[in-house]
Symmetry: C2
């Protein structure tokens, strides 16, 4: 799956992942009104609207990008109906040929991490039949619990040829509270980065590892240091656009081969229609606005990479 | 809810939480066979068996303990049907008067953490009606992303009078890989513990804070240090029993008032029937075996606390 993702980045010339993170505020009102007609004002209506909203965006951008990243929290917020919409979104994205990165930030110990891994990127055999829970291609993983928490994911990756992205340095303002602490002379995120490189060495694809890392666009200097520590690691970079990261901040996340990073944008794409710049599309044109925003983002990154 | 939990501990004289972490291996075979008759060998059968298994245990122990802690990973492993069983378990435990700690170990940034918090311990207002997603009373939270990741949970706690337990020092063998790193002269877990105390001061119940901590029974010396750093923090202690923690290891997790800690046991209780010691109950007597194991655990802790 890492090889397919890298191939997708090369083919589309877009190291871009579209974050499918719907919220009530981002939903085009007329689309929501339509689902309310079917379900009343209920979590089922919200969930159905999320799915239809995603579908519109995916149809509009599937030829432009290699991957999408649904953020499960947005769906989980609405309980079971929300998670059904998450699963339908994953399935639809697969049907459209996209690599699906489940942004789930799970992490626990031993058999509990294994349960998460099986539910998201693996399968359970019941009565001789393989059942898949959520069926993403990659998931994000929290490293706070150490190797015990991460290795069960890696074992499932090995079997399924799927991958993970381990949180190393997150994009939020207070990420430094613990991640930047100087431990034994070096910031914690570098120590986590070293572990990611070590875990990754044991499970290589053709040019990059099945074990990737998350490093926020909002910390370009740290990205530069981490790029060197993890040369064979694909870096998933959140924080572009709405969170403040810009094209020029991204340069050092990439290797000299022009690969090695994939940049996420969520609100900046899926709710582009709410921005002044794309307002001419109107809410009914939200999908076309998303397409235009992807093309602009692609140009911004290409210019920065020069 | 923290006051209710502390009251429950006093009333039952059992600082014990029963971990409802079902797996295929722990399920009594005849109970599973019954659900297979209804659903075939499918995830629906597994999920229904998990719910019935939990129900049996809850019925047997509800008068003995103040709280239960379903581990969501075990359910999430089976996708949507699994999560439906999780939700049914939460609802059933509420009906039986138990405090429910959702062991979800979530953590993300800003609005994403808020989405998790609303889905698990809060609600969403849709068309003027409040809908609750999973409806636990407490959840566990991962601190790796810093205050941005934790504060949205705390805000929801404040509104709902519910609580969280933040991972500080986990019970697994490799928890030290990052958590024990010496940062600015002190182990990282102590720095996290200080933050927990600080977050907790701002949201106090009568004697303990709505912001609790997770510290593994397998690290008693660290528990002792953390007890002092977080005097008003209720400590949720995993790792007793199956993971190797014993009654005498628990003493320093408690304050002089005999309160301040609540000890989790999962396999050791729910699958007691598989242990030599309780084998006379047989698999059909799994619930009575669980009851006996709770009583033994209560005696073990009481003896240790003197």
């Amino acid at each position: 799956m890492i090889n397919r993702l890298i191939e997708g980045i090369k083919k589309t010339e877009a190291p871009i992942v579209v974050g499918l993170d719907p919220t009530m505020k981002l939903l085009p009102p007329s689309l929501y009104a339509e689902t309310v007609r079917d379900f009343g004002e209920t979590p089922d209506a919200v969930a159905d609207a999320f799915y239809k909203y995603n579908k519109g965006i995916v149809d509009a951008v599937a030829d432009l990008v290699p991957a999408v990243k649904p953020q499960i929290a947005m769906y989980e917020s609405y309980g079971i109906p929300g998670l059904i919409a998450f699963k339908k979104t994953v399935d639809y994205c697969h049907k459209k040929g996209l690599v699906v990165i489940g942004d789930i930030k799970r992490g626990d110990i031993g058999s509990t991490s294994e349960a998460y891994a099986l539910g998201h990127i693996g399968s359970s055999v019941i009565g001789g039949t393989e059942y898949r829970g959520f069926d993403e291609d990659f998931v994000t993983v929290n490293p706070y619990l150490g190797s015990d928490g991460v290795m069960p994911f890696i074992k499932v990756c090995e079997k399924e040829k799927r991958g993970i992205f381990v949180l190393v340095k997150t994009s939020n303002p207070s990420s430094g509270e613990f991640q930047d602490r100087i431990c034994d002379g070096r910031p914690l995120y570098e120590l986590v980065g070293e572990k990611v490189a070590e875990w990754g060495d044991a499970l290589m694809g053709e040019s990059y590892s099945y074990v990737g890392a998350v490093v926020g666009a909002t910390y370009p200097e740290m990205g530069k240091a981490l790029r060197k520590i993890m040369p064979k690691t694909l870096i998933l970079v959140p924080g572009y656009g709405a969170q403040g990261g810009r094209g020029k901040d991204l340069v050092h996340f990439f290797n000299d081969d022009g690969l090695g990073a994939i940049i996420n944008s969520s609100r900046g794409i899926i709710a582009a229609y709410q921005q002044e710049k794309y307002s001419s599309y109107g809410e009914a044109g939200y999908a076309d606005a998303a397409r235009a925003a992807v093309l602009d983002m692609k140009a911004d990154i290409a210019e920065a990479l020069g």
